[in-house]
């Protein structure tokens, strides 16, 4: 079973990362920014798994462990983030990010 070389996986991860980043900075809605951030996290996870698979010591399961924890934490983060978005929506009736600038200097 031949796998594609590591660089392809990394390419994919980089691509996903930049797509997620582009979405996070270019879209107006808060939820879309969250989705973009999730994509970025997933890209990083892919990186970890790829390096674990192609790495020197796959028996140590380091990459797998890291990704597991990353997934758990991402879940927690999404929950809290969406709760925040909902709370703000209740106040302001909007999820547009450029309307939430009361912390400006």
């Amino acid at each position: 079973m031949m796998n594609p070389p590591l660089s392809h996986y990394l390419l994919l991860s980089a691509l996903l990362f930049s797509i997620g980043f582009a979405g996070a900075v270019a879209r107006r809605g808060a939820i879309l920014v969250l989705i973009g951030i999730e994509l970025m996290l997933n890209a990083a996870n892919l990186n970890f798994i790829a390096f674990w698979r192609f790495g020197a010591n796959p028996q140590a399961l380091t990459g797998v462990m890291f990704v597991l924890f990353s997934i758990a934490i991402a879940a927690a983060e999404v929950a809290v983030g969406l709760a925040l978005v909902i709370a703000i929506y209740r106040q302001r009736k909007t999820t547009r990010l450029d309307a939430m600038d009361s912390l400006k200097g």
Binding site: A24, V25, V33, K104
Partner: protein, 674 residues
């Protein structure tokens, strides 16, 4: 008791303690104040008696007790006290008279508001005088000299609300100060030349032979012997204190004080302090083969004796007559010291102390009885109204005039005249002395006639009749009268006890000595002089005493210009006012100008400069430092506002900046490692 010398310091200390305690008392504690003063003086008197008796028994002529006052690097300053016959006799006289006069003051000052203060000051005076007497060091003597002068000032100006009294006190203090400056100079010179101010210190004292030899041998710039120069300066101090011409002007004015003060201070003790000083320093003054200072002493004394007696003839205030009489008698004492030595002068001092204080107290009694009247022209007929006073006053007057045989003044004055007659340098003092005796008898007769004889004052328009003084005043008078008579017997030629006591020899009673030719001649001469003066005075004044009103003095009628001169005291006061005092006023005005304009101007200039500097400093601080600081803070705030402009609250912009930073970071890493 040989140990008495160790306790002799108590004699002045007890009155000093009484004065200190009395100073703290309230005005109402009259009995305590008087009790303290009299009690302390009584104790001092008892101690003095003990000291006197010890000098009678112990044949050591001189005991002293010295101590170090303070220690300088290479020398020490020592003080001390001593006991010798001169000291003992003075102690007895001073304490006894002080005690008697204190008791007299209980009556005289009974109605005065400031009773407590009076006794405090009198105790202070007593302490000073006693300290002066026992001092074995010229420095300690000087300290007590000043203390005595201070008490005199305080007591002359006792009734300070009276401007005349305040002025008199000031005059007394300043005039004696002039003498004191000379005394201080003499003291300093003596210290520098002899190295010590102790009188007797086992051969090293300044009055002991080694020091005297050095001083006699030394010479000043003018060719005068050192001992003479120092003696003259010290004598100048005595001139001030004892009211010799030309510094006599304060004594008559000092009569503004209460009569007990005049009796104690200005008759018996303080003015005698000058004479005592000369007696104490006699070894120095008479040192060397040609003691010129002693001649000066004699001449000054003789001139003073006649001068003051002349002025007394034209005075109308009862106390002033006695004051001029005191000055005259002090002149006699100085003359006695000069011609005859310590014993002659001191004998007259002792007898004079008793009869002069008696006369003053009697005058006080007269004034008290006449309800404050002091002009003799307005008194009269008091012989019947005040018999005790008259009797004692007569005793005192006769002692002063030198009525023969039974009155002390006769023997003491005779001793002086006898020594003056034998003086090798000149016989002018003798004749001056005789003239003075004549004048003394004359003016005292005048005074007694006008005060005690003649028409009573109420017939001349006085308010209330005169009355005798209470017993507390007349008993001291009686005591003093007894002494005025008896004291003379201590120094007759038949039994020269006083002389031998002072010189450490033994006296023998030889009645025949009275009849030796020179003595007898002198006795007869004195008697004659006194008798003629009495007769003349009685003839002139007893008639006038019955006249009323009594303004015209017979002497004035016969010799108006002379009388005018005498009554105005030879215009000495006016002379001083025109010269010395005017000079002093000019000088003080100049000093005042200097102080107000020059020094104060300098101070103001400095303060102005400081203020100007302060203003500059403040301006710099406000505009420079503060402004700079404010500018800095403003700059910070502006920077902050610029930075805060970058925060627009939008997360996406922050994310973009983050992303850009990561890119740049990556690029840097890549290119950095390439």
């Amino acid at each position: 008791m040989p140990h008495l010398i160790l306790f002799l310091w108590l004699v002045p200390s007890l009155p000093l303690l009484a004065a200190g305690w009395g100073a703290l008392l309230k005005r109402q504690r009259r009995r305590l104040a008087a009790g303290l003063a009299i009690g302390a003086m009584a104790l001092s008197w008892l101690l003095s008696c003990a000291a006197f008796f010890s000098t009678l028994r112990v044949r050591i002529l001189r005991q002293s007790c010295n101590f170090t006052w303070f220690d300088l690097a290479h020398t020490t300053v020592q003080l001390g006290w001593m006991l010798d016959p001169l000291t003992a006799i003075m102690l007895m006289m001073v304490t006894f008279l002080a005690l008697v006069i204190f008791i007299y003051s209980l009556g005289y000052m009974a109605r005065d508001q400031n009773f407590t203060r009076f006794f405090c000051f009198m105790s202070l005076f007593g302490a000073g005088m006693l300290g002066l007497v026992i001092a074995n060091s010229l420095l300690l003597l000087f300290i007590c000299w000043e203390l005595v002068g201070l008490s005199s000032y305080l007591l002359i100006g006792f009734w300070y609300e009276k401007p005349a009294a305040a002025a008199a006190a000031k005059k007394a203090f300043i005039t004696t100060r002039i003498g004191d400056i000379a005394l201080l100079l003499g003291m300093l010179w003596l210290y520098s030349r002899s190295g010590t101010l102790l009188f007797y210190n086992h051969g090293q004292g300044c009055l002991e032979q080694a020091s005297l030899d050095r001083l006699v041998a030394g010479a000043t710039m003018g060719g005068m012997a050192l001992s003479t120069a120092i003696s003259l300066l010290i004598f100048a101090g005595a001139v001030g204190k004892s009211g010799q011409v030309p510094l006599h002007v304060w004594l008559p004015d000092a009569m503004e004080g209460p009569t007990p003060v005049s009796a104690l201070i200005h008759a018996a003790t303080m003015v005698a302090a000058g004479v005592f000083l000369v007696a104490r320093m006699y070894p120095l003054i008479s040192a060397g083969p040609h003691p010129a200072a002693l001649q000066v002493v004699t001449w000054v004394g003789a001139v003073t004796a006649v001068f003051a007696a002349a002025i007394a003839m034209a005075q109308n205030d009862i106390k002033r007559i006695i004051a001029y009489s005191t000055i005259s008698q002090l002149g006699y004492m100085m003359m006695g010291l000069g011609v005859g030595g310590v014993a002659v002068g001191m004998f007259h001092l002792i007898t004079h102390a008793f009869f002069k204080s008696l006369l003053f107290l009697g005058a006080g009694s007269v004034i008290h009885g006449c309800h404050g009247e002091q002009d003799i022209r307005k008194m009269g007929g008091l012989k019947q109204l005040m018999p005790w006073t008259f009797a004692t006053y007569a005793a005192g007057m006769m002692a002063l005039c030198g009525v023969p045989l039974f009155f002390s003044g006769f023997w003491s004055k005779d001793a002086i005249l006898g020594a003056a007659r034998d003086w090798p340098f000149s016989s002018a003092p003798f004749y001056l002395g005789v003239a003075g005796a004549f004048l003394t008898a004359f003016y005292m007769t005048r005074q007694v006639c006008w005060v005690f004889f003649g028409k009573p004052a109420e017939a001349q328009g006085a308010q209330a009749p005169a009355h005798e003084s209470p017993a507390v005043m007349t008993i001291p008078l009686a005591i003093l009268a007894v002494f005025a008579v008896l004291a003379g017997f201590l120094g007759t030629p038949a039994w020269p006890w006083f002389d031998s006591y002072l010189n450490g020899a033994n006296a023998r009673f030889t009645f025949a000595a009275l009849f030796a030719r020179p003595q007898l001649l002198l006795l007869l001469l004195s008697t004659l002089v006194v008798g003629i003066a009495f007769a003349l005075g009685w003839r002139v004044y007893s008639r006038v005493a019955w006249q009323s009103p009594r303004e015209a003095d017979p002497l004035e009628k016969s010799l108006p210009p002379l009388f005018w001169l005498l009554q105005n005291k030879f215009f000495i006061d006016e002379l001083y006012a025109a010269t010395v005092i005017r000079l002093n006023t000019a000088f003080s005005l100049c000093a005042d100008w200097l102080d107000r304009v020059v020094w104060a101007g300098a101070v103001r200039a400095v303060s102005g400069l400081t203020r100007a500097l302060a203003q500059i400093n403040r301006a710099l601080d406000e505009s420079g430092i503060n402004a700079g600081f404010d500018l800095g803070c403003q700059g910070l705030r502006d920077t902050g506002s610029i930075l805060s402009w970058m925060q627009n609250g939008r997360i996406q912009r922050y994310l973009r900046v983050l992303g850009l930073a990561i890119c740049l970071g990556l690029l840097a890493l890549i290119w950095g490692s390439a």
